[in-house]
């Protein structure tokens, strides 16, 4: 049974009292996820944040192991982050984005313990969108809608929010501010769309000249992969604190940068800009289906928002196969 929540501020206040709450907060020209000090910092006037919430599950830089020497021998201690946090105001597409991260890190023969620990301790409170952003393509991907992956899902309505519970953790957050209701409203705004039917034929377009011509302006700056909620590649390195202690750490990496594939003798795979751009687009839109049974791209448009030269992968897909 859904609930009606009339006073969002009051609810946020109770949340902040008991949890670390991370929500979209206005910066100069955009919104970004920040730890809320007070419920007054949150305003529902954002479409979405410039950067996704991925950094709270996969920090830009993260210590994995602590090495320390005792009696002449090193030991390695895994550093698992178990801080309980609430991600508040997450848009439906980003709930899908987190589901992609879950697939990458939690499925297969190996579970990524560091991601798992953060993820298990993160509560997700999603809020449906009233309008789509300039570069949103959620309609093409169906990602404006979520059926799982959240603890609570809020739908804005005239007299407050319809709240759906997605987990036991979510259930625990229901307090006297919520009243049971049988209203079943959703907000599914219209967004831009692209010729999605072409995605099935991506194999055929691999050698399309468009990848080369479009990549002529690409700066290989990696702004797109930094902003992408499902770009999760990383590099592992050791860092020395003193001769007896140090960390094995990981940090975000990008397939758009040369050092991503560089091996002995200065040999770099996928060196050409168009190959890197194509790799990004194919991974997000096509290869991920074979790898994970889902499409990594959630259509959030952040790669378009952040690209300094206005490259739009959906616009490229639209034009693939045309003379």
């Amino acid at each position: 049974m859904p609930y009606l929540l009339r006073d969002l501020k009051a609810f946020l206040k109770t949340l902040i009292k008991e949890h670390i709450v991370i929500a979209p907060v206005k910066e100069k020209n955009h919104y970004d996820y920040k730890v809320l000090e007070s419920e007054d910092e949150f305003h529902l006037d954002y479409v979405n944040t410039l950067y996704p919430p991925k950094k709270f599950l996969l920090p830009y830089e993260e210590n994995l192991l602590l090495f320390s020497k005792r009696d002449g021998e090193f030991s390695a201690k895994p550093l698992l982050n178990k801080t309980k946090r609430v991600l508040f105001g997450v848009r439906p597409c980003d709930v899908h984005g987190i589901a992609v991260m879950d697939r990458v890190f939690l499925s297969g023969n190996y579970v990524d313990s560091f991601y798992e620990s953060r993820r298990k301790n993160t509560i997700i409170i999603a809020i449906e969108c009233e309008k789509a952003g300039e570069n949103c393509y959620c309609e093409s991907f169906g990602t404006y809608k979520v059926e799982s992956g959240y603890d609570l899902l809020l739908t804005p309505v005239d007299d407050g929010f319809i709240v759906r519970v997605g987990s036991d953790e979510g259930k625990k957050l229901i307090n006297e501010l919520f009243e049971e209701t049988d209203r079943d409203e959703h907000k599914y705004p219209k967004s831009k769309t692209f010729k999605k039917e072409k995605l099935a034929k991506m194999e055929k377009y691999f050698h399309d000249e468009l990848w080369k011509t479009e990549a002529e302006k690409c700066l290989s700056c990696a702004a797109c992969t930094i902003a992408c909620p499902t770009c999760t590649c990383f590099t592992i390195e050791d860092e020395v604190q003193d001769p007896e202690t140090g960390y094995r750490k990981r940090r975000w990496a990008s397939c758009q940068l040369k050092d991503f594939t560089e091996v002995a003798g200065g040999m770099t795979f996928r060196k050409e800009t168009y190959k890197k751009l194509r790799h990004f687009a194919y991974h997000k839109l096509y290869w991920s289906i074979k790898q994970y049974g889902l499409r990594m791209c959630i259509g959030c448009g952040r790669c378009i928002d952040t690209c300094p030269v206005n490259i739009n992968i959906f616009d490229i897909v639209n034009r693939l196969g045309e003379e």
């Binding site: 020497k69 190996y110 560091f114 691999f206 990383f234 050791d238 001769p243 202690t245 990981r250 091996v263």
Partner: protein, 260 residues
């Protein structure tokens, strides 16, 4: 089990192989297959992927070529020191599938690592395989790796060794490894394993195809920059394939189409 936590194991033997390579025997016996890989590291220095250079239930051999920060440190360890390892990862060679057939092993330089493991597996199970020919190519006589094993291997298999450039002491074949294949014919149903630099793999595979081998019976081991070894970090991706997890061994029928 946290897959990123390595285990410290003791180095029980150390051999200098060439100017820039050393080999270790380490006290570690994970269940593994020839062609699989591992991550070896040293605290505060870093981690790098390596192949299993042996096939034994008692120990693991590693070959380390110094090319940079991590490998320089790993190559400077002594007998009795600890080295940190995790794995095995990847698929390995289809040793079972090759049973009952002739096998041709071709390696260039440090590509000898996984081939040596496959060879030791074959020698352990010698009666399960037909004629076995092994071709090793090195840059010069000074670059020969695992030379001390050659005599023993020759008891069980046909071993051919060449160097790109010979010297006064060298009495063997001179020329790139693939030139040794020229006058040799192979049963078309044979299997081949090829490891080495990308160009060498391509030449050797094409040559074996010309000799009538099926492209799905030629197995190559591919190398890419790797960090995690377990399909998470993305560095080793080529198209939809993770070299670390789906490979590093691929039939040539697939490897030839792995275009970036």
């Amino acid at each position: 089990m946290n897959p990123y936590v390595p285990k410290a194991v003791e180095i029980i033997e150390r051999h200098r192989e060439t100017d820039d390579t050393v080999s270790y025997k380490i006290k570690w016996n994970p269940k593994h297959k020839p062609g699989q890989i591992l991550e070896a590291s040293y605290p505060l220095i870093g981690e790098a992927p390596f192949g299993f250079a042996s096939f034994s239930e008692d120990y693991v051999e590693l070959l380390i070529r110094s090319v940079g920060n991590v490998t320089n440190t790993l190559a400077s360890l002594k007998k009795g020191d600890k080295i940190w390892v995790r794995g095995p990862y990847g698929n390995g060679f289809p040793m079972k599938e090759m049973e009952g057939n002739d096998v041709c092993l071709i390696a260039g330089g440090t590509g000898i690592v996984p081939v040596k493991a496959a060879l030791e597996y074959i020698i352990k199970n010698r009666n399960r395989y037909g004629n076995v020919k092994v071709f090793f190519g090195f840059r010069s006589p000074k670059q020969l790796i695992f030379k001390r094993y050659f005599k023993n291997w020759e008891k069980d298999v046909e071993l051919y060794v060449s160097v790109d450039r010979g010297d006064k002491t060298w009495k063997g074949h001179v020329g790139v490894v693939t030139t040794m294949l020229d006058n040799i014919s192979f049963e078309p149903k044979s299997f081949a394993i090829i490891c080495g630099p990308p160009v060498m793999i391509k030449f050797a595979a094409e040559k074996m195809l010309n000799k009538g081998l099926n492209e799905s019976r030629i197995f190559v081991s591919l190398e890419r920059l790797m960090h995690c070894g377990i399909g998470k970090c993305g560095h080793c991706m080529v198209r939809n394939v993770f070299i670390c997890k789906d490979g590093p061994v691929f039939p040539y029928s697939i490897a030839k189409d792995l275009e970036d």
